[in-house]
């Protein structure tokens, strides 16, 4: 029996959490009912319609009364259109609101840049008190949601990693990276959907005789700075991989750690400060923008060519 035989579907998980906690609400925006949760707890399944600013305010108000609202919304709209509400109503007001966002990164594919979120992690990361999670697969998503429910304070969860990444059981702790592959020549620090290609990159590099460590950085804030420093000290070269702009996200967070520690050499794999305007399927869009195993492999090789500090 693998980890994935036990993974709960998202609706089943919300039902379980809702059964366990009578204060848990799901607040959404015309995104379909969260199935059994809404059927069992119609009063606690709040659909405010297409009103993102209102949605976050409502969630903050529920939390002000001691409720535990889980917002279920689309990443580009909830993080950008309602940014000030997240920052002011939730974070500044110290409200215990969890935001579960689908359609992170380029998952919107041919729907276009309006439906892509390559800025969400950067935006959420700037907010004081906000925890930012990007789980790598369905199993980790379940763990992230469970951890968020227990964590006091606002949490942003970018959902979206589907391909199985974790092979064996492990401890999921907010702020603690998971080493998926050991290696001494370089380290790939990946988050969310890019963890799976990072593992593929590891295999491709191994075939070339390069031993690349792989860290699943499921928490972008608070970043596991110790794991980053250790990787820099032990492997010298760091490649970050994220389905996000190279500005402001994981690559930037890692760069901050490396620069302040004065260690390591960095390459960032991500969207290169551009809108992804090509009409293409999700996988093709990822390929066009180098968000692939090959892209990560190339970044590590370029670091090796450039030597190490």
């Amino acid at each position: 029996m693998s980890l994935y035989d036990e993974v709960k579907s998202f609706p089943a998980l919300m039902l379980e959490l809702g059964e366990a906690n009578p204060d848990l609400f799901v607040v959404s925006q015309d995104l379909g009912k969260v199935g059994p949760f809404a059927e069992n707890f119609p009063d606690r399944a709040i659909d405010v319609g297409i009103t993102e600013q209102n949605l976050i305010g409502v969630a903050a108000g529920l939390a002000a009364r001691g409720k535990l609202p889980f917002v279920y919304a689309m990443a580009p709209f909830i993080t950008m259109r309602a940014f000030e509400q997240v920052r002011t109503d939730v974070a500044y007001n110290e409200k215990n609101v969890k935001i579960m966002a689908v359609l992170g990164g380029l998952a919107g594919g041919p729907w276009g840049s309006t439906h892509h979120a390559i800025e969400d992690i950067a935006l959420m990361r700037t907010i004081p008190g906000m925890t930012v999670l990007a789980p790598a697969d369905l199993h980790e998503t379940e763990r992230a949601i469970r951890a968020a429910a227990e964590h006091p304070g606002p949490v942003y969860i970018r959902m979206g990693g589907f391909a199985p990444v974790h092979e064996t059981d492990y401890e999921f702790r907010i702020g603690r990276a998971v080493m998926l592959r050991e290696g001494s020549d370089a380290t790939i620090v990946a988050t969310g959907t890019m963890v799976q290609p990072a593992l593929e990159a590891h295999d491709r590099l191994k075939a070339r005789g390069v031993q690349a460590r792989v860290l699943d950085m499921h928490t972008i804030k608070p970043l596991d700075a110790a794991a980053v420093r250790e990787a820099a000290e032990e492997t010298g070269r760091i490649a970050t991989a994220e389905e996000h702009s190279v500005i402001g996200g994981l690559g930037t967070a890692v760069a901050e750690v490396l620069a302040e520690a004065g260690v390591g050499r960095l390459a960032r794999v991500g969207v290169q400060d551009t809108f992804c305007t090509e009409v293409a399927s999700y996988p093709e869009l990822l390929a066009i923008h180098g968000l692939t195993a090959e892209g990560i492999e190339g970044a590590v090789l370029s670091l090796l060519d450039a030597g190490s500090s």
């Binding site: 009063d43 709040i46 600013q53 305010g57 000030e84 109503d89």
Partner: protein, 273 residues
């Protein structure tokens, strides 16, 4: 029917609230006009209508108040201090380094439920509180005070549109319609009228009052809600009410009173110089 003596007591209390506001404005520039326009509404809420307990600000059976027009904060601070949430002397520290009293409400101030300042945030948050109370089946009410300039914020109308869907008859939106925004009359910048018609068309139960007539104010705030509908009270007010040099002047939004103006205003409010 509210008694004459209660009305008189509240009117006197409102004078005290205005005195505190004027005393601060005589010391340094502040958002005086919108505090004075809201003073009677605030007095009725804090000294008669709302179930609150200064000794236990977190009690579960309390009513909620959100000052969505956060810049009107001096009226709120004065009401909270007079009501015993914190010492009246603290009002003198307004905006000073180390004070708990910032120019917009914060969670540091006892009795403040939600920090505000950016317009258009209060009604959605109040809606969330009202949903929580309704699901609990408790009678707590939620009051959200907004300005008429604030009606230009889109998020107000997101909440106005969605609140009736949840049958929140425990939610009361109060519009302090003093007819001025920061730099000019609302009518000259972007008109928001017909305001009452707008709220009615959004399926709210609407009450129109003179926001300086204490009997009307109390009766509106205490009127049993229309079943299943949130209530919008559109209160006609005067920006700078009680300080003649400011009334209905764009200057009332944010200013400092000159020493002569301060003395005159306090005398008008019954303070001996």
């Amino acid at each position: 029917m509210i008694s004459d003596s209660v009305v008189r007591r509240l009117e006197q209390q409102a004078v005290t609230i205005r005195r505190h506001v004027v005393e601060v404005a005589a010391e340094h520039p502040c958002h005086i006009g919108g505090a004075l326009s809201a003073a009677d509404l605030m007095t009725a809420l804090y000294f008669h209508v709302m179930r609150i307990d200064p000794a236990d600000t977190g009690r579960r059976d309390r009513d909620y108040f959100i000052l969505s027009k956060g810049h009107g904060v001096l009226a709120l601070y004065a009401a909270l201090a007079e009501r015993g949430f914190f010492p009246v002397e603290a009002l003198k520290t307004f905006e000073q380094t180390g004070s708990i009293l910032a120019a917009h409400p914060t969670l540091h101030v006892p009795g403040v439920e939600i920090a505000t300042g950016s317009l258009g945030h209060g009604l959605p948050v109040g809606m969330g509180m009202a949903i929580a109370c309704r699901v609990e089946g408790v009678p707590n009410r939620v009051f959200v005070m907004m300005g008429d300039g604030e009606m230009q914020e889109g998020s107000v109308w997101e909440a106005a549109l969605s609140a009736p869907r949840f049958e929140l008859d425990n939610l009361v939106a109060i519009v302090d319609q003093n007819r001025f925004q920061a730099f000019d009359a609302v009518e000259r910048i972007v008109p928001v009228e017909p305001l009452a018609d707008k709220w009615r068309s959004f399926r709210w139960s609407v009450i129109e009052i003179n926001g300086h007539d204490m009997r009307q104010v109390v009766e509106a705030l205490e009127r049993p809600p229309e079943a299943g509908r949130p209530t919008a009270i559109i209160a006609q007010t005067v920006k700078g009410k009680g300080v003649s040099c400011l009334e209905n002047s764009p200057r009332a939004h944010y200013t400092r009173l000159t020493p002569e103006e301060g003395t005159e205003a306090l005398q008008a409010l019954g303070v001996e110089s």
